[in-house]
Structure formats: structure tokens, C-alpha cells
Symmetry: C5
Subunit: 105 residues, 5 copies
């Protein structure tokens, strides 16, 4: 299924599955700061239904420009990402073929 990537701009909640009409499991492995001249930090957050948001990583211009992640999301998870701070964050990873479902029926 290969490569997946998205740019999350500040102040918008983005559901990665709705955005690209994806199905299956999404493995998110990297976050990198977008363009811009601010030196303030940008925080990547994950929102779930009925739960407090979770910080996934914090990026700092010229010090922490990228961050390795190892996160998996199901299309049933109803998660969305958002960025707090002046710069966008580029997320990437890959879609997994959902082998576990194959034998279930």
C-alpha cells in the first residue's frame, strides 16, 4: 500500500482517514516542521471521542525539526490530529494491509 503523508496546518482538526478516504490501518512514523520563520514550538495533538487530547510530539525550529513516531491507527478509531503553534507539521508513514482481518470470517 506504500507511502502516506499529510500536512497538518495549525488550528485545524484533521481526521487522516476522512481526509484521504483511507481504509485499513495507518502507521504514522515521522513528524517534521513545515516552512515559516517563527522560532516558537509546535505541538502535535491527537483527539479522540470523549477523551482528553494527547500530545504526540513537540517540535522546535532549529533544535528539534523532526521526530520519529511509531503509532498505529484503525479507520474505526475516530481520531483527528491538530497542531498548536505557528508552523504546520508534516506527518508521514504507510498504510498496512490488514492481514488480521482476512481470516476472521
Amino acid at each position: 500500500m506504500g507511502f502516506w503523508g499529510i500536512e497538518i496546518k495549525p488550528g485545524k482538526k484533521v481526521n487522516p482517514f476522512h481526509e484521504d478516504n483511507l481504509q485499513g490501518r495507518l502507521h504514522v512514523t515521522q513528524a517534521t516542521l513545515g516552512l515559516g520563520s517563527s522560532s516558537e514550538k509546535s505541538i502535535l495533538q491527537c483527539f479522540r471521542e470523549d477523551k482528553p487530547p494527547i500530545f504526540l510530539c513537540t517540535l522546535l525550529p532549529n533544535k528539534i525539526e523532526s521526530c520519529s513516531l511509531d503509532l498505529e491507527f484503525d479507520d474505526e478509531d475516530s481520531v483527528s490530529f491538530s497542531v498548536t503553534g505557528p508552523k504546520s507539521i508534516h506527518l508521514c508513514g504507510y498504510l498496512l494491509v490488514d492481514d488480521e482481518d482476512v481470516g476472521d470470517e
Copy 2:
């Protein structure tokens, strides 16, 4: 099973399985500092029965804001997390379907 996340506030011992009534294996892959103005470090520790605590990572505002982890916990492990320092630490990862148990009977 998808995404899992929790915020560990300073001075509280949190068992991740009790907190969310989870079952199975939990893969914890990322720790990120919470909000606050302190510049002091926060240490994430793991407590087990009858054993000394283990430091899982140390985060430092504006220098080490996040840390990749690769840790697995069973619901039988009786572990709890705690944070020493002024800021909370957000932990995230995912729940694993426990394939190994399936064929055991």
C-alpha cells in the same frame, strides 16, 4: 485495536490497564512533555511489585521535548507509571491483538 494515550501528571502512580480498563498487550512508543512554564526536567518511571523503579526516559523543556520508546506491557504485569518533576508527560502507543494466546488452547 489502534491508538492508546494517557497523560501522567506528576506525583500520581498510574496503572495504564486499570486506568482505561484495558486488556491484552500495550505497546508504548512515545513520551512528550505536557504544558507548563518550568524549565526543570521530568522523569518518567515504571514501578513493579517488589522491585526498584526503572527510569524510562527524562524530558527537558526546550531541549528534549519528546522521546521515542519501544516498550511492551501485559495486563498481568502490574506496572504503574509515575512522573517526577514539574510537568506532566503524555504517553502514547497502541494496543496489540494478543495473537500468541489464540492457539494456546
Copy 3:
């Protein structure tokens, strides 16, 4: 299949599969700055058909010389890499035997 590596020079779009006539799945796991005296940052980008480019990592001389990645690409992905900045970026990883395809027929 073993080790794979390529140097991406600034300003060129490189399809990793065409460049080396590869087949299968490519796992890219590391990016490292090339030689040169500039202290400016270099950004590694991934281009896909009909989609905006995604930043994979940003490297900074003497501060962030290397970056761990965990990205998979299929030969059907039609992706290409490019570098924005003064220095080249060396990418490496390994080719995966595509087990998933074996049993399909």
C-alpha cells in the same frame, strides 16, 4: 535482499525505483547530511502524483546530522525524493522480499 542506499543531491527529483531499477518494497530507515561547508538546513521531501509534497525530515549541520526514518515504498507508488538546501542527503535502508504477494495465487 539487503542494503540499499542513495545520495540525493539538491534540486533533483529522484525516483528510487527507477534510479536503481528496483522491484518490490523499499524500507527507508536513515537520512544523513552529505559533505559541504554550509550551515544551512536541508529538507528531504517526497513527491507523489497529484498531491502536495511531504517533508520527510530536516537536517541541520552540526546539530541534526542524521535522522532515523521508518518509511515503506512500493514500486507502484510513483514517488520521488528531492532535497531543498545546500547539502545533499544520503538515504539508506533495505529492500524487502514481498512475502504478501507470494501466496496470492
Copy 4:
């Protein structure tokens, strides 16, 4: 099998399998500096029979407080860890069920 952790104090050689009477394969994934006021570096080394020691990571107070690892050890490996420097290093990871052995008989 779940979580495993140990604190390696400076100047002692510790065999992780003997220390906790473990069996199987041990996956060590994280090293974190212990407490103390020194600002000198601490080096984690691995000793094997008849071979020169290997540096696994170097930690530096307030700069490199933790380090991700991805190392596997068998109970037959006869390895021991030691720390050179003023501060202890906390190691953690998890024990793997040794599936490969199951079908051998």
C-alpha cells in the same frame, strides 16, 4: 512476557540473565541516565567472552538523557553490561517468547 528493567551502577559488570534469573530472548530498547549531580558522560558497554567490549550508547546529563536502543540478547549469549562514568544507567525493554524454539523438537 512484558516489561523488563534494570539499573546498571558504575563499575559493576551485570549479566542481565543471571541478575533476574531470566530465560529466553531479551529485547533492550531504552537507556536513561540515573540520578546524580555530575555533568560528565556515562558510557554503557557490553562485554562478551573473548572479545573486546562494545559501546552501546553514551549519555550526557542535560543534553542526551536517554537513548533508544534495539538490541536482542539470548540467554546463551553470556553478555554483561557495565557503565563507565559517574552516573548509573537504567536499561529497559521486554522479554520475548521464544517462538523459534517451539517447533524444534
Copy 5:
């Protein structure tokens, strides 16, 4: 098969399989600077037959002392490592049982 490690000294080309008479697949997961008082950077390179060398990581005393890697090498790869710079680099990882070959006959 467990732990593998080697120290690569500056200016020597080292084939990891010849050096230790290894067979199978080698997973290299960590690089750490050796001893010495220089503050100059050391670059780890991989050489292959008929191809330009690839930088695997760059280490910088007191700033980037270690680097996580995720690289796989086959004994048929004919690769060798070398270090450019004043300090040696310790490499470690583990040998993989080559399951893929088992069922081939």
C-alpha cells in the same frame, strides 16, 4: 542468535561478515563514538561494489554521541564499513535466523 558488535577504527574498510566469519542476515541498530579527545565529527560510511559510498550516520562528540540505525545486511551483500574522522565508531545489533530460506527446498 543474539548480540553482535564491532568497533570500526578510522581509515580501515571492514566487511562485517568476513571480520567475524558470520553467516545469515545482520541487523545493525546502533552506532556510538569511541574514546578520544577530538571534538571533530566522525562519519560512518558503507561501501558496496561498483557503487558510490553511502553515509550511514555522522556523530559529533558531546552533541551526537550515538545514533539509532535500522539496517539489514546479507552475507551476499559484499558491503564494508569505514569511518572518516578522528574517532572510532562502535556498531552493534544482532544476527537474524534466516527463516525465509528454511522453507525454500
